[in-house]
Amino acid sequence: MVARFIENDAVAALAAAWARDYRLLAPVREGQAVIYRPWAPDMHPFLGRPPTASAKQALLPQTENLLSYTYRKDHADLTKTEVFLADPLPPEPTVVLGCRPCDARGNKLLDRVFLERGVADPLYAARRAATLFVTVACEHMENTCFCHWTGGGPTSEEGSDVLLFAVTGGYAARAITPAGEKLLANLPDTSQQIADELAARLANPVEPGPAPDLRAAPERFLALFDNMDFWMDQSARCLSCGVCTYLCPTCSCFNITDENQGLKGKRLRTWDTCMSALYTLEGSGYNPRVSRAHRLRNRVGHKFCYHPQEFPAASNERNAQPEVSCTGCGRCIKSCPVSVDIRRIVLDLLEKGEKK
């Protein structure tokens, strides 16, 4: 396939062109973080590092309106009230620039939850259909990266519309989907020299370290389910904050709350985190996941046991390795204030959950 060429200096102009037709989310450096911001003319997109948060915010914003309501009092009889409901506004067509292959692959896992598992979520479906992902292929793997455990890789195309490769002087851009092709329509083809450079790079991919066999992970997780000492030791350092789940490209749990203002208001969907005690706290005061050990167990279990058990057929595409609800982006490790390492937990599971 022919790749198009984007000069380093032309990235901002291209982004500006896209921003005329789309809501454009592009990463910028802010302090220590790399943050997706809506396009602004003075913006300098930064593609050199994976953004701090995953791109899921484009499909599942931190907060969004599920509905709005208005009460109307009957002026003749104030004991009578009527209530009127309205749907939220439809999403804008969006381009996400600068996510990584692990982020784009996360979209497929979000689809499992919001489109394929049971009831389809029309808000998510509308955003998904309206959003394009221009992904930057990775040149190396960081210490926290483990995409190869989960069937991905530094140049994985899954979930992307365009894949950018850093080459001398700019980026070689490959369209993965017809919509991606359209985004690149006005760009020149790469020179032969760049094409050769890209070919050479693809011929010599990054060699990740060995990946564990995850086929036994669900069974060994369940074998260790009731071993609270194991989970206590894994979680004693955990702060029970939301960093891991909020930055994760596949964590999709949400809360629903009403925000009232006088006689009207809205019902919001907000990111929630299974690491919080409030997530399962019942009105009666009973909490089935009362400690950090219970909660960390649920997060690991969901990703490496419950998800693969729910989608067993998906593993056929991955050399019989289970599809886990994790793309190995490593954000939960990199940004964890106390360096909880989900890889370590999974390896411990595989080792200690083995039947003696």
């Binding site: 190396h140 702060l239 709350t257 360096s339």
Partner: protein, 322 residues
């Protein structure tokens, strides 16, 4: 090597106490040479995994409140020991159930400062000497000045030696700072109110409300029973607006006035790199000026805002107003 000898003495002390304890909270090696991670030591084999060096940034006292009722040991640096002292001052800790392993500390590294000097995402190794941080990177060795990458709190540290310890694993360290001049606040305080607000609006806009700042705070013992999550009263909306994010930080700072020991875990834990310690430093400076008080230094001292009485003897006499 002296440092290695010190770790061996720590391990020996921990092993000696283990039979009397449920476990000891200490530092183990994290996912690479630049990261430590808290570990629970239950067995002698666990104890052999203990480390102590400039990567041991976490304040383990953060876990103490959640572990009340257990007999545990804890490894503390000088700064961390102030959290232990403050928890004792606030009667949030049963000292009798706690064994403190005190580690005099030459300062810990601020990875944020390392990152602006070197790409450590693929670091293969690291070594710390008294003056240098030697990074082993894919492209080769990179040497940084230790002073350049020490955490800010270490540059002004007056308590490198734990203020409270059952086992002090010396030698003790000469303090670097004499009096905290709050020099870092000066630049900020020169700004006018609008400029300050613009600064915070910019910073807070990237907050994701993960509450790592709150949960990493050793003194934020409310955790999930917090105004940020309360529905009754409904202080904060679930909507991720600047106003909600900012209100939480202001409340957090106010609730820590006279309690915060400036361990800096709130700021270090922020995945978005928001400089929230600045707010607590500002509060502490006020407390110092008004009450000449410093939190977490004297186990017997009563924090100024703990002297509040529901029934004051009489209201302030303001004289005749008409």
């Amino acid at each position: 090597m002296a440092e290695n000898d010190r770790i061996q003495r720590l391990i020996a002390a921990v092993k000696a106490e283990l039979p009397k304890l449920d476990f000891v909270l200490g530092y183990g090696r994290g996912f690479d040479a630049l990261h430590a991670t808290p570990i629970t030591v239950r067995t002698e084999a666990d104890a052999d995994k203990l480390i102590f060096d400039a990567t041991c940034v976490e304040n383990l006292a953060t876990s103490l409140y959640a572990m009340r009722g257990k007999r545990i040991g804890i490894v503390v640096k000088g700064c961390d020991s102030r959290s232990v002292v403050e928890l004792m001052q606030e009667k949030l800790l049963d000292r009798a159930n706690l064994v403190v392993f005190g580690m005099p500390c030459q300062g810990v590294i601020d990875l944020a400062k390392v990152r602006v000097r070197a790409d450590i995402a693929q670091a293969r190794g690291a070594e710390f000497t008294e003056t240098e941080v030697r990074l082993l990177l894919p492209e080769g060795e990179r040497v940084l000045s230790r002073q350049d990458v020490l955490a800010d709190k270490c540059l002004r540290c007056r308590y490198p030696n734990p203020l409270i310890a059952d086992h002090l694993i010396g030698p003790e360290v000469e303090p670097k700072g004499v009096e905290d001049t709050y020099a870092d606040l000066e630049g900020f305080e020169k700004l006018n109110p609008q400029e300050r607000f613009d600064f915070w609006k910019r910073q807070m806009s990237r907050c994701i409300r993960c509450y790592a700042c709150r949960n990493a705070c050793p003194l934020c013992v409310c955790k999930h029973v917090c105004l940020a999550d309360s529905r009754e009263p409904h202080w904060l909306s679930a909507e991720a607006t600047l106003q909600e994010k900012w209100l939480f930080q202001v409340m957090h700072a106010l609730h820590l006035a006279g309690r915060c020991t400036e361990c800096g875990e709130c700021q270090r834990s922020c995945p978005m790199g928001i400089p929230i310690l600045l707010l607590k430093r500002k509060m502490n400076r006020e407390l110092k000026e008004v009450f000449n008080y410093e939190a977490g230094v004297d186990p017997e001292a009563v924090p100024p805002l703990h002297t509040f009485q529901m029934e004051e003897e009489k209201i302030k006499d303001r004289g005749l107003l008409w």
